[in-house]
């Protein structure tokens, strides 16, 4: 039997331990923190895939999250079970990404950023005046309570969130070691050269974009299962951009472990500042500006520069050598 690498074993071990938390009696508030952490992690990993590895500063995560959330919520209102609603949500997000991909990838650089910024704003406005399927709330705008989710335990929701977070990390891990990762890095570093080397720029950007839309959509839908009320100002909120952006910048853009570190810090900040209303956003904004000016490489970048990994890495490699010898 082939002995797997130490890093694989360690990752699986961590995953198993995390999965056992609801069963071994970890407190509900901790399950809550981790739930949020997993959602933010999934979003951050995908934002990092787009910005850090493909060179696409995408300002429309809120579009994917909001559309998926709404698709799921509307689904439950027409009698669809939430599991199917979740899949529907993901499908809607991906379809939307596909739909806008052709015009959006014609836009280069800053034009792409603004083009993607327009989308959630337009969707927010649209849903503020449009009632797709009756209405759960009075007044203008499509606000819905997600139906049929009252019976789901926190543990089950926790597992869903853990699943999407793990999936997002696995997906990026595989991409980076496959041909797609090489092509994306080439595009990020120099698009024209990549094209003359045979890279189909549009197709690769689209792949990245669709994968991100899918996973962000699922993460958003899972979030709205746990927080079962959706409105235009929440579904298409700027926070859905701020959170993964902050996590990526703080953690380290273009670095695989960056989003993990960043998401942990962002989750911590969010819960720390939860009682302070608008001050919470204010402080997060200040932190973002400070970090991007003072520490643009992020924490993971800093750790790499300082060589902080060298010692644990050597330990790791020694341990691995020992295991494979026996």
């Amino acid at each position: 039997m082939k002995i797997p690498r130490l890093t694989t074993l360690a990752s699986v071990a961590v995953l198993v331990v995390l999965a056992l938390f609801p069963v071994i009696g970890v407190s509900l508030s901790w399950l809550n923190y981790l739930f949020s952490f997993f959602i933010y992690l999934a979003l951050a990993t995908m934002w990092n895939l787009l910005a850090g590895y493909t060179g696409l500063i995408c300002l429309c995560p809120a579009a994917f999250v909001g559309l998926a959330g709404y698709a799921m919520a509307i689904g439950t209102w027409v009698g669809v079970p939430f599991q199917a609603g979740l899949i529907a949500g993901a499908a809607v997000a991906v379809l939307f990404a596909l739909l806008i991909s052709y015009p959006v990838f014609r836009m280069k650089g800053i034009y792409f950023a603004i083009g993607t910024l327009v989308l959630p704003e337009a969707l927010k406005a649209w849903f503020s005046f449009w009632h797709p399927v009756g209405t759960a709330y009075q007044g203008g705008g499509a606000g819905y309570a997600v139906a049929g989710v009252a019976g789901i335990t926190l543990g089950e929701k926790y597992w869903l969130a853990l699943a999407i977070a793990a999936a997002s990390i696995l997906v990026v891990h595989i991409i980076l070691r496959a041909r797609l990762g090489l092509g994306l890095t080439a595009i990020r570093d120099n698009e024209n050269t990549a094209a003359s080397a045979g890279v189909n720029i549009f197709r690769l950007k689209l792949s990245s974009f669709l994968i991100a839309a899918l996973i962000m959509g699922i993460a958003g839908a899972i979030y709205y299962i746990h927080n079962p009320r959706i409105q235009p100002t929440s579904g298409f909120n700027i926070s859905w951009l701020l959170l993964p952006l902050m996590a990526t910048v703080i953690g380290g853009e273009g670095i695989e472990e960056g989003p993990i570190i960043g998401a942990a810090i962002v989750t911590f900040l969010r819960f720390l500042l939860a009682d302070y209303g608008a001050w919470s956003l204010f402080i997060q904004g200040i932190i973002l500006v400070v970090v991007v000016v003072v520490m643009p490489q992020g924490i993971a970048g800093l750790l790499r520069q300082v060589g902080a990994y060298r010692f644990p890495l050597r330990l790791f490699q020694a341990a691995e050598a020992k295991i494979h010898k026996t």
């Binding site: 649209w126 904004g285 991007v292």
Partner: protein
């Protein structure tokens, strides 16, 4: 037919006048984009900050918002200078993306600051003359829209003359057209950027007053203005004052005519500018007049 034209006149005129407001708002964004190739995504929020500032002064001292600009313009100028010098200039050494992210951070800071200080509720600059209308022949014109138009023209001409006639202005123009050459001629680009951003902020202060007179505003009102401003400058083409003015008009008309033809639908009014910007971006980002 005649009825149709008569009915069309008010939204047509209103749209053109409204264009003046969009020109003033877009001017600051255009200046920064032209000189630094940076889209300040906080620009809309900074204009709203200008509206809030005028509102605060009005409430505190009871003076007309235009008068408050005596304090507002220098204050915003200084603020802009400092922001560029200590934050954005530093991010340029890292990358253009870093600058964009910094601007986004500033956007969040400004939005949340406004919410903390002035709550999320809608405000308006309620001056006595705000709701005045007067008649020109068979047409009724609202004073505040006329002020927008005059303001748009005035600020645009002022900035244009400044760019042409003052040393600093010409330095800014030079840097926006060809930075390496400008640098070799002894112009310090970072200095130029700081002044350019400062001027952009000063324009934002003025835009804030005009905007506050025309519409009600809340801390999150900035985003639509950012998108419309961007649409104005890419429609009109960078570096073309006439183009910017026409761009402003197009967006003004999009809203008023959109409202007119849809029977006052708020949905159409809100979405129409976004759709327009998106289409322009996909088809011809360099604009109709652009180089």
């Amino acid at each position: 037919m005649e009825d149709f034209l008569v009915g069309l006149a008010p939204p047509l005129i209103k749209g053109i006048l409204l264009g003046g407001l969009y020109v003033v708002i877009a001017l600051g964004l255009s200046l920064v984009f032209g000189v630094m190739k940076l889209i300040n995504v906080a620009h809309g929020d900074l204009v709203i900050l200008g509206s809030y500032f005028a509102w605060a002064i009005m409430g505190w001292l009871g003076i007309d918002p235009f008068l408050s600009l005596v304090v507002g313009v220098p204050l915003f100028f200084a603020f802009g200078f400092l922001v560029q010098k200590f934050i954005i200039n530093r991010t340029f050494r890292i990358s253009l993306d870093a600058a964009l992210i910094a601007c986004f951070g500033i956007s969040i800071v400004v939005q949340s600051l406004c919410q903390v200080i002035w709550t999320p509720f809608n405000r308006s600059l309620l001056t006595d003359y705000r709701l005045l209308t007067f008649a020109v022949g068979p047409l009724t014109i609202q004073l505040r829209y006329l002020l927008d138009f005059i303001g748009g023209l005035a600020v645009m001409l002022a900035v244009r003359e400044f760019l042409r006639r003052t040393y600093l202005g010409r330095a800014i123009s030079a840097a926006s057209q060809n930075e390496p050459v400008a640098e070799r001629m002894g112009i310090n680009p970072n200095r130029v950027y700081s002044f350019a951003f400062a001027i952009a902020m000063a324009c934002a202060a003025v835009a804030g007053v005009l905007q506050g007179l025309t519409f009600s505003f809340s801390p999150t009102s900035g985003s639509p203005f950012l998108i419309i401003s961007f649409g104005v400058i890419i429609l009109g083409g960078l570096g073309s004052m006439a183009g910017t003015f026409i761009g402003g008009m197009v967006f003004g008309l999009t809203q008023t005519l959109g409202a007119y033809f849809s029977g006052g639908s708020l949905l159409v009014q809100s979405i129409a500018p976004y759709l327009l910007v998106f289409v322009i971006l996909s088809v011809r980002p360099q604009g109709i007049f652009g180089r």
